[in-house]
Symmetry: D2
Subunit: 269 residues, 4 copies
């Protein structure tokens, strides 16, 4: 079983790149499950709308994961409860968090869970991601699940690697998002979990991790409040990975990074 994952899709440019490349990637790699991170798809790069969620599904996504920007477009509160394919981070605190932190799919008879997990180091004060996922793995609804794909949305390399080793052999894949820059450490951990510190983003390659240089530099140089603007011009980047899974063991067989950019044209995949 093959999983296709695309990291944080940023702004209009990110949405265009998904429309342009996702069908082609699906055609060429024939994934059974396609997951994309949609925490930055609005024009402001913050949050998601119902319309954009549907566009992602139409373009070929089966599940959309989120991250710390999940809640920035308040429209999400209107539709996440009725949208099981939209997954917010599992470990936001309390019993009343809108939506769910995982989605269960039946893929040709195999039960597949897609989980979104958020780190805490230099981030919001959510619940402990180690124990939150520990707990989920013991819940009844996960017992029939064979394959567990985790989008781990976190800032530091150490927290992501620690989480991956902690869950090694217990989840199928642990793929990082949030830094918007892909790392080169795609690997199968000793007990069979696929890991990548960060899948990277899908959106405008120029500017600063999806935002215009002008808006970001202003923040760094003045320390004053700044409204970041999404980068529009210039070349784009599509980042993600492919994970090959043994559906019987629920472990990963192979992980392969995906990167399409000016420096890495589609043909080189």
């Amino acid at each position: 079983m093959q999983f296709l994952f695309l990291g944080d899709i940023v702004g209009e440019r990110g949405m265009e790149l998904v429309s342009e490349y996702l069908p082609r990637l699906k055609h060429d790699f024939k994934p059974q499950v396609t997951i994309v991170n949609g925490e930055n798809v609005t024009k402001t790069g913050r949050g998601i709308s119902h319309k954009l969620f549907k566009q992602l599904m139409t373009a070929g996504a089966d599940v959309v994961t989120l991250g710390n920007h999940a809640w920035n477009n308040a429209e999400i509160f209107d539709f996440i409860a009725d949208t099981p394919q939209l997954v917010r981070p599992l470990n936001y605190p309390g019993d009343q968090v809108p939506g769910k932190g995982y989605s269960i799919l039946n893929v040709n008879g195999v039960q597949v869970a897609v989980v979104n997990l958020q780190g805490r180091v230099f981030m919001e004060l959510t619940d402990d991601p180690f124990r939150s996922l520990d707990k989920l793995l013991q819940e009844p609804q996960l017992q029939a699940v064979s394959v567990i794909f985790v989008d781990v949305h976190a800032e530091t390399t150490s927290e992501k690697k620690a989480l991956a080793l902690y869950f090694d052999g217990r989840v199928t894949a642990m793929i990082g998002t949030h830094t918007h820059v892909q790392t080169t450490d795609a690997q199968i951990l000793p007990r069979g979990t696929a890991f990548l510190t960060d899948a990277g983003m899908t959106g405008p390659a120029e500017g600063v991790i999806g935002m215009t240089y002008e808006s970001v530099i202003n923040k760094f140089l003045t320390a004053r409040p700044t409204r970041f603007a999404v980068q529009q011009a210039g070349s784009g980047v599509v980042s993600g990975c492919l994970v090959s899974v043994d559906a019987k063991t629920g472990l990963a067989k192979r992980i392969r990074p995906l990167l399409i950019s000016k420096e890495h044209p589609y043909q080189t995949l």
Copy 2:
């Protein structure tokens, strides 16, 4: 002119990998200048000693850069003042910081500066890296310099990219360190500066960014004080990059990441 750079060398394993691979890399790629980041070379992974500095030079380094761990082994205060090839971050505050934030080499008649610059986001409260390097670039001793190689030691992808774009065309290369995981975004920026968000580390590949899983997980699970132990066992990783420079313009012609690991054997370089 070719530059070879290796990212954060971690512990005894990192030192062994340098001894094993640096001569081979120099033989094969024939760099005119070799720079390595030595902020983590001691057995504890924190700081540097005079003996280890000399070992790095013997193994083939021309300049050793540092980072936020520069000061963790107090022995550095005894020798950094007399060791111009050991460069600490430029932007530690005050007039009395031991050592220097840059080193100037004469490479076949070309003046080359190697700078170490530290980020501030989620890090120590040092001086502003943007303005500190701005100021250095205007100092008289830099006026005869043609090529400027910057090791930018910082946590976040956004601060590193913002710094690189701010100095694009004014420095030759801006190569990130500190996260210990290499990124895939090696690129020549619009005005000619080579950029890579993080070069990655050189040291034990298993464990968590150079430290044992057991020590790191303990910190994450207990929130109590923990002494991290450097990973000894398992496979290693050598991470860095090669930058080809036009010595006349001082701009980069090409940047090529270097990665040697279990998944990426030397032969695939």
Copy 3:
């Protein structure tokens, strides 16, 4: 010479309390200089407007200081340049910060400087407050100044005390703001500087440091984005201090905290 200072004035309630109590305080204590912190005077508790600035002056302020919220109401950019009695933190970075970090008054022939200084620990990445004020004290326009009153806007008790001891004997008073809760450590430091870790706020006493409990608790319980609302109902608090100064030496003779609240009626001052 007597100085009257009121800490962070919050929202409409804070403005009403200033109108109600400032004339009375001035009548009773007859300060030569009255300084109030206006970083939270708008209805949202963020920033200041020209109208509100004028209201503060009308109510009896001679100088209005600010803090990290200085820039939250963008209207400030329209009038701060022409308003020398409105002082923003000295150590915002760069040559082009609107307004000034100090104001110089002639008080019956005595030159008095009022400075606003911002801490960095757990705050914005401004310039080093130690060296920024060091530098200001050496500037020519400060040389004729006898009395220097500093509003030090910072989060931690340690940074404020360290700053006060660093400048002890070199400034007249170092009065903390930003935490919105008054401390009991008003004191004259060994070399003559008056110090108080925090003067406390002037505004709604109920709620959470000026904001409604409902809005703040939501942030703590959900870790999701929250818009804080200024507290309207309930009793109010007026917090500040009186500093008696020897205009000849520029040192403080006495510091006396001011607190008016339900538990501490005006009569007990």
Copy 4:
């Protein structure tokens, strides 16, 4: 029923002040329960030893609370499990935290619980203090308890006030520690809980919150690793509060800050 509380006791000086003033305070105010915060009692100001714990009990404490420095002297792991009168923060994560987060005393037939709770803002990544105490309050062993005294060890004024209002009417007192500087906001909240943002410290009054100016200023001026030294010389401060409790309702009747220092001699209490 009267409670006497002393905030963070710092170093040898703090221990001396406890020996000198605690018997006198107990004689004069006749508290039924005496609680002191002992997270800083060692010579380094970090953690506690068995010997020092016993000294605190001999001097008159009934319960010793802690904070984020609880674990800094590793000796604690040897005796906390057998020392129910030593209470570490309730919300350290996991099932295997040594010691307990509360202590239950029988005071003339009244069941009294003393709880230590730690904040998270700008602190260690412990469990959510709101939900941790919520959960404790529902545990069977708390059901016979009439009076609940909470030492809330946290950095920011907002987190402490939010916690106090959240538990208002459900606990008897919520007294802040950690900043080492006493605040002036002692109050009975609307539903009967006594609150004080910070009780302040007991120890050397000069220096920076218990540490020498020389060691602390070095950190601020250099951004390099620094070992803080406990202040020995100079005058001392004893800080805390008295809370009068209605044992039947479990609510507070009165809270009265305690402060003994050079500026506030014992006689003025």
